[in-house]
Symmetry: C2
Subunit: 364 residues, 2 copies
């Protein structure tokens, strides 16, 4: 009697995670990605180089199997892409696994990809008319970006994801492989991750039609009427007809995503240093929620930020301290990126994490 009772919490937690990974389809490229990660991790481990997993961009929650509509998290991927560059910097010399939302910002190309000007504006036809070259006024900056991109070379492995499920399968598999690095592994989880998802069995096969709208809401089937174009039922006698009310409800029954941060710390990669990010819009909530996450998951650092000021200041919340990291007004005016302050501080905390781990080893 005592045994099952004692085992229950762990059992249910396990089965919970297992259920998620057994009922949701893995991304089709998972095996191919993990072959790349295996080779990448082994090569840099041999070179005794530290490896950071940087996650970046928002995860999607598809509302249909053949997805026309989805719920998304705001994130261009600026934090992740910018941080990756500073981890790849010669002085830092980390190897970076960049797990990013497809088409979000990437290290180096980010300087041109989401700019108001197309990168084509920085190029001109070369003298002999055989190709293109950087315009004289942009030559120095483009060459500098290109050289840093080249210098990163095989220290950067970029892997894309789209959905929350893609992300969790990739995160689990990568962190398990990184476990072999011991404390030299760093998890820098900057992606904007949904904590809810729509289970496949409740997903509509096809684009939800407006005609579904007034169906039984207790069914758990997503009901609603987002259209990827103008949808005639939607507007049918819109103004007067009683059969189409002015306001409609979209009801989606969502399941919470398993506690993967807990799984990361306890099971997937327990010796890695783990950093999570917390984005809020209400400053009064930020510190409390960061501390709550630290207590819950027992990881090493939460970097908190407020949506409106995230490019000027962040707060490092550890079990011991709460430290704000801010750009000076002069730095802001000079377009200095706050990641130039964040990444070096993270690296010194990672070095401390390694020292503590090795000291513990000695005493055992």
């Amino acid at each position: 009697m005592a045994a099952p009772a004692a085992a229950a919490p762990l059992g249910s937690m396990q089965s919970d995670e297992d259920r998620y990974f057994s009922t949701n389809p893995p991304p089709k490229d998972l095996d191919q990605h993990m072959a790349l990660v295996e080779a990448f991790v082994d090569k840099h481990a041999k070179a005794n180089r530290r490896i950071v997993l940087v996650t970046s961009g928002g995860t999607t929650v598809p509302l249909e199997k053949q997805t026309v509509r989805f719920i998304d998290n705001f994130s261009a991927g600026t934090r992740g892409a910018t941080s990756a560059e500073y981890f790849l910097d010669d002085k830092a010399d980390y190897a970076v696994i960049f797990l990013h939302r497809q088409f979000s910002l990437q290290p180096y190309s980010r300087h041109y990809s989401h700019a108001t000007h197309s990168f084509l504006d920085f190029l001109t036809e070369d003298e002999n008319g055989h190709g293109v070259r950087s315009r004289d006024e942009d030559a120095a900056s483009m060459l500098s970006v290109w050289r840093r991109y080249r210098a990163a070379g095989d220290r950067l492995l970029a892997l894309p994801f789209v959905t929350i499920t893609d992300y969790l399968f990739e995160l689990r598999a990568i962190s398990r492989i990184m476990h072999r690095l011991g404390p030299n592994g760093l998890l820098y989880l900057a992606a904007a991750v949904s904590d809810f998802f729509l289970p496949p069995e409740r997903m509509a096969e096809h684009k939800i039609q407006s005609t579904d709208i007034n169906a039984d809401k207790s069914s758990g089937k997503p009901l609603g009427s987002f259209a990827a174009d103008e949808d005639e039922e939607t507007f049918d006698n819109f103004d007067s007809s009683p059969k189409v009310p002015r306001s409609k409800s979209l009801v989606i029954d969502l399941d919470p995503v398993p506690k993967f941060l807990k799984s990361l710390v306890d099971n997937w990669s327990p010796e890695s240093m783990m950093i999570s990010f917390k984005l809020e819009t209400d400053p009064d909530l930020l510190i409390g929620k960061a501390k709550g996450a630290l207590e819950r998951y027992q990881h090493h650092l939460v970097i908190g930020n407020i949506l409106a000021t995230r490019k000027q200041e962040v707060v490092f919340v550890t079990p011991q301290d709460v430290n704000w990291v801010r750009l000076s007004e002069a730095d802001v005016a000079a377009n200095v990126e706050i990641e130039t302050l964040i990444v070096p501080q993270v690296i010194s905390l990672h070095e401390e994490h390694i020292r503590i781990y090795k000291a513990k080893e000695k005493t055992q």
Copy 2:
């Protein structure tokens, strides 16, 4: 008595549209954008050049005023960005207003921006080490893209939007300016537009917290728990606690977007040729829904496509005909873009639209 009764439908329709535009905030760049559109339209009208408005990419429906979460429509902007290039082609010589989702694909740069390889992979350091140039193996293709981009020059005006409300304000203002072009204006509405929105008065100011989840659902306030990061309340005693059920509901009361296609045809730009797109995943619904839209809005053409095959075939649905436009297997194998077939057919229909309009003018 008769008068108000007779006036009622129009009145309610008007007030409906008016209510939308008076209760939702215009995009902050609207005035600046319209100054650009005014100058653009007048210049090309003087040159007797036809002008097409190409809309492209998906609109967002923000769930919070300080937006962390939003509902989005699937669209990379491929159809719009690719079509724009063929309208800008020397042979077609249209001027293009490209109203696109911020960071979606753009004409010309699209050949590199969403590719697996960064555009930096196509460049190398130049001989004298002053800048970068196209690699020899990529020089011809990059030069070709760059020259076409340059040739488009001031015939391309790109304007970004993000939300459904941004999109509708921009669409109304641009189409009203294009009205002065008479039948020489073409509206090519390829954007993936949500037909529902969340009114400002029902929008949460801050990121929705998990703790909101079991609040009163009849309030109309969006309730739910999408988090842009791991949210402690969400997982609190997740497995066992009765206060956090395994499955939660997100309830969002959405309002239908006003019938802007009807407004376009009747009021905003009645002499322009108007083309809408219909994306479906279920082939059995496509033709019927396309015909329904044509009957309802009385515009000129619906281009229908199925999500899975949209790059190989589309269907032109007019009041007279249903014509499938398909790439041959050889073309598909050769990566020919279906827009090379779509745009010339659209242009000849636009020429017919102009002929008919002018013939009518004569007879009047």
